[in-house]
Point group: C2
């Protein structure tokens, strides 16, 4: 009996201690879980740009600055509301870009710049970080919201890029209304083209060379709009829409409709939308290179964005910027120009709107 | 005097020994230099593809197989001769691709497949690994050798990608002769289109769906040509030229004219030319991803090519292959299809020609 009692006492000691240990563990676990819950709260965030370039305060009126800020705010809040109610990153990206496409302030949709032939040729692309699916359109002239057509190409065709008349035939088959090209006429953009043509003519008369390196003309390359969003399901999406560069010729395609250059999204790394001198952004594979550095070098989004925008692109002779979000909701807005129209609402719900450097 | 003699004797010993040491060093140095010379001999190499797909021996006649092998050999030897006489990788790539563009056997130039509208729309791109400069054309219909126009865009325009009519206007300004679209008519390709249209019609009648997933139609996507070369100056170049996919619609742009997807070259890493289901090659950023893995993960060309072609592209649902050369002249030819028309002459001067797997 004594043996049995001793055995039971030993058992009690063992299990008692174990229980005690367990309860300690439980407290730790609860503590961890409570931390984990805070960490696991579905994070969502959104960032946009309205183009990078020589944007200087001395060239800006107060009312124009206010107009830009108001539209940036309207756009970023539109996407944020979608994310807040559980909508997808893809929906947030398209609806946010639509606000900027419908504004004459940005070089996309309504405010698209004019080509050399005095037409408006629009490009756009979108990418889904969850599936790596992507869609793009290049050189469309009758599409009010090219980002919506890029989305349609992504989800309802077997293709990634459709161009020109073919893209518009696909648009019609998909129920898109074609707008008359006159929709894209804005006096401001038309006068910009005339100024450049005059200047080009003067320069041609002067030294027989085309005026591509002229800084005034160089700045007319910019103004693309873009958006990157992270939704509550952890999905990233990125989109970019543009009218390209003023006075562009020969059906030039810039980086905006090029997956990996103008737009890239991958849930494993980040989403990126570019704006800048498209040719250099294609050659540097800007959007994909930022993602590849994060994936293969295991550096942060901010480090990768800095490396590409402040070192690699300038080394080639190009300029511009990007906005990006990583899978944790960290935001990067990196540019090597005097300014970039930009805004975000981060995972803390904080709104930021900026135009100039710092 | 004895002191002086002793001093001189010591000097002799010291310098004698030193001389002896030096001569030993010299022998080592000479040996090293001779080794170094062998290592520093300017290496050059070239690799080409004529498309990947369901290429099976049982579907091939002996005479057709011979015709393919002869043209592959002629093409790869053309480029190799250029490299041997000290020509640039860019020259080797363009002239080699010209041979394949001028042959009706490959889906590029003369042998381009037909679009749904029974036209031939050609795409091409080229990249210079020394400067990261690049040029591309998409959807041209009057250009005999699209790779030459891509080269012209790279070196004589401020642009990277020009499309359709605009690209041809640029071609004319640059002195290119435009060919009549009838140049691209080949009975074989035209019948392929008719077969697909019939099959598509049957399938549409049958289940109301388009027939994109049909394996016969799937195979008609392939046949792009491409070339990568390393020249004696250590410069890499890559180029790709294609007629796209049979029955393509809506001015679809595939991966061939997309820098980073169909073509990429960077002296720091490698040159790559892709062939396969273009949409998946764009989404996977095949050519740039191989380069990025080498640069950031410090793995070999072969390891990176395997990872992308055997794992990443199939994971998305795509298929195809690549040819590539790294900065040391190592060659990779990786594909996940039944066959890929391919050939190389490596740094040892060894010729290889292949069609089927193994």
């Amino acid at each position: 009996m004594t043996k049995i009692l001793t055995f039971l006492f030993l058992l009690f000691l063992i299990f008692g201690c174990k229980k005690y240990d367990n309860s300690n563990n439980n407290i730790d676990e609860m503590h961890l879980q409570s931390n984990k819950k805070a960490e696991d709260m579905p994070k969502f965030a959104i960032v946009i740009h309205g183009g990078a370039g020589t944007i200087l305060k001395e060239n800006m009126t107060d009312s124009l600055e206010l107009a830009y800020k108001n539209t940036l705010q309207e756009a970023v809040k539109t996407g944020h509301e979608i994310l807040k109610r559980g909508g997808s990153a893809l929906e947030a990206v398209t609806k946010t870009i639509n606000i900027m496409e419908d504004s004459p302030l940005f070089n996309a949709g309504k405010g698209a710049v004019f080509t050399h032939e005095e037409t408006n040729e629009l490009d756009a692309s979108i990418m889904d970080g969850a599936t790596l699916n992507a869609g793009a359109v290049a050189g469309v002239t009758h599409i009010k919201n090219p980002i919506n057509l890029a989305y349609e190409v992504m989800v309802n065709s077997d293709h990634v890029i459709l161009a020109g008349k073919g893209a518009e035939e696909f648009a019609q088959l998909s129920g898109f209304e074609l707008v008359d090209p006159s929709y894209f006429y804005t006096e401001n953009r038309f006068q910009s083209l005339q100024k450049i043509k005059d200047k080009e003519k003067t320069q041609l008369d002067h030294d027989g060379k085309t005026a591509y390196t002229d800084s005034f003309i160089k700045n007319s390359k910019f103004g693309t709009v873009g958006c990157v969003a992270l939704d509550k399901n952890g999905n990233l999406a990125a989109g970019t829409s543009t009218g390209g560069m003023t006075n562009k010729r020969w059906n030039r395609i810039g980086d905006a409709p090029i997956i990996g250059a103008g737009t890239y999204a991958n849930n494993a790394t980040c989403g990126v939308s570019s704006t800048g001198w498209g040719e250099y952004f294609i050659r540097a594979m800007v959007a994909h290179d930022i993602s590849a550095m994060m994936e293969y070098k295991d550096i942060t989004l901010q480090e990768a964005a800095y490396e590409v925008i402040q070192k690699k692109v300038p080394a080639l002779g190009g300029d511009g910027g990007i906005v990006a979000i990583d899978k944790e909701g960290n935001i990067a807005m990196e540019f090597n120009t005097a300014g970039m129209y930009r805004a975000y609402i981060n995972t803390e719900g904080e709104l930021f709107i900026g135009i100039y450097k710092d």
